[in-house]
């Protein structure tokens, strides 16, 4: 899925996958920080947005 979405032009770094156990609090915290930083760095999403004003 990640490979396909990046193939059609979703920026690498916008989509993240992770497997975290409920006992892995540190890993959860670290992953959230990493994901947030990586997505923030890319800026607001430009694709796959449905502009209601345009559609309606």
């Amino acid at each position: 899925m990640k490979s396909l979405l990046e193939y059609v032009g979703i920026e690498p770094g916008r989509l993240h996958f992770s497997w975290i156990s409920s006992a892995e609090a540190t890993k959860f915290q670290e992953t959230v920080v990493e994901v947030t930083e990586s997505v923030k760095a890319l800026g607001p999403a430009k694709h796959m947005i449905k502009d209601i004003r345009k559609v309606a």
């Binding site: 990640k2 490979s3 396909l4 193939y7 032009g9 690498p12 990493e34 694709h47 796959m48």
Partner: protein, 320 residues
């Protein structure tokens, strides 16, 4: 080619008159040139309408499924390489039983892309196209021209790796060479060559003309869900408008549902009334599955589809 068609007609008539099958699924000549269509022969007389040509672009495996239980018993089906691979896939997914299908195997001649032929005669009406050896004879009101078939084949037929049927009950003609020699890796997933920033534009440019008719889905033997995700209204997974986001969602998900199952038969691309190259998505997935799992769908009845099992050594670089 005509010899194969004759053999199909004879065998179909024999099977039907002996009562071995209730129906023979094959192709019949279309009412417009280059549009041979799926045909269901229920009697030996109807079997005489069956044909075989380079214009048989539908995947007949599609008609083995979605039929009311018990309505039709055993059926015979005309199958070239890709159709037989789809049948293998359907057997593996428990959609059909091997003993209910009698496979009339045909070596694929490589199907012709009618758009490529039409493009050679802009603004002209083609009234007749016949096959003469390796060439097509294209006739219109005031023109007649020969085109070599190999110049106007469908994209997926150039890179076919399995022209002969994988499983067969009776062969209709000699097995030909197994592939057309094209290199699938060289042409699959064309947008990989683009920079990530350019891909979205190329993608939207391609699907821009999509009218959401779902012909690609309906032509596909893999799409047999009773309610497709695009038809579901509660909840509505995917919007029904022609907005960029909705069209993109449909195409991405349609392709993804075929992951590890698509045999690259090209029926979706042939069915598209807008000429959208929908294989640009499925070929990417087909390539990924081949590279990540070393698997080609439908080649082996015994092989386990990679996405239906977990193996400890499955690639998982994408998971953090």
């Amino acid at each position: 080619m005509e010899a194969v068609a004759q053999k199909i007609r004879e065998t179909a008539a024999k099977l039907l008159s002996e009562g071995k099958v209730d129906c023979v699924i094959g192709y019949a000549q279309g009412t417009v040139p280059m549009r041979d269509y799926p045909y269901f022969a229920y009697t030996p007389e109807e079997a005489q309408n069956l044909t075989w040509s380079p214009f048989c672009c539908n995947n007949l495996a599609n008609f083995l499924i979605r039929r009311p239980k018990g309505e039709i018993g055993k059926v015979a089906i005309v199958a070239q390489g890709c159709v037989s691979r789809s049948i293998v896939g359907l057997i593996k997914e428990n959609q059909i039983a091997r003993e209910d299908v009698y496979i009339l195997g045909v070596p694929s001649p490589g199907m012709v892309d009618r758009r490529k032929v039409q493009d050679r005669f802009p603004l002209k009406t083609i009234t007749e196209v016949t096959v003469d050896g390796e060439d097509l004879v294209v006739k219109g009101k005031d023109f007649e021209e020969r085109i070599p078939q190999k110049e106007v084949r469908r994209d997926n037929c150039y890179t076919c790796v399995q022209r002969n049927p994988v499983i067969v009950d009776e062969m209709m003609g000699e097995e030909g060479p197994s592939d057309w020699g094209g290199n699938i890796d060289a042409v699959a997933a064309p947008w990989e060559k683009l920079e990530p920033g350019e891909r979205w534009e190329a993608f939207i440019d391609e699907v821009d003309s999509c009218i959401r008719c779902y012909a690609c889905r309906d032509a596909c033997p893999l799409c047999y869900c009773h309610v497709c995700f695009v038809d579901e209204a509660m909840p509505q997974w995917c919007g029904k408008t022609q907005d960029e986001a909705d069209v993109a969602t449909f195409h991405i998900l349609r392709a993804f549902h075929c992951a590890g199952r698509c045999t690259d038969c090209g029926a979706c691309e042939s069915a598209c009334p807008q000429g959208i190259k929908v294989r640009r998505f499925t070929s990417k997935i087909e390539k990924d599955i081949r590279e990540l799992y070393d698997y080609s769908p439908g080649m082996d009845l015994e092989a386990t589809p990679p996405l239906s099992v977990y193996r400890p050594n499955d690639p998982q670089e994408f998971i953090k």
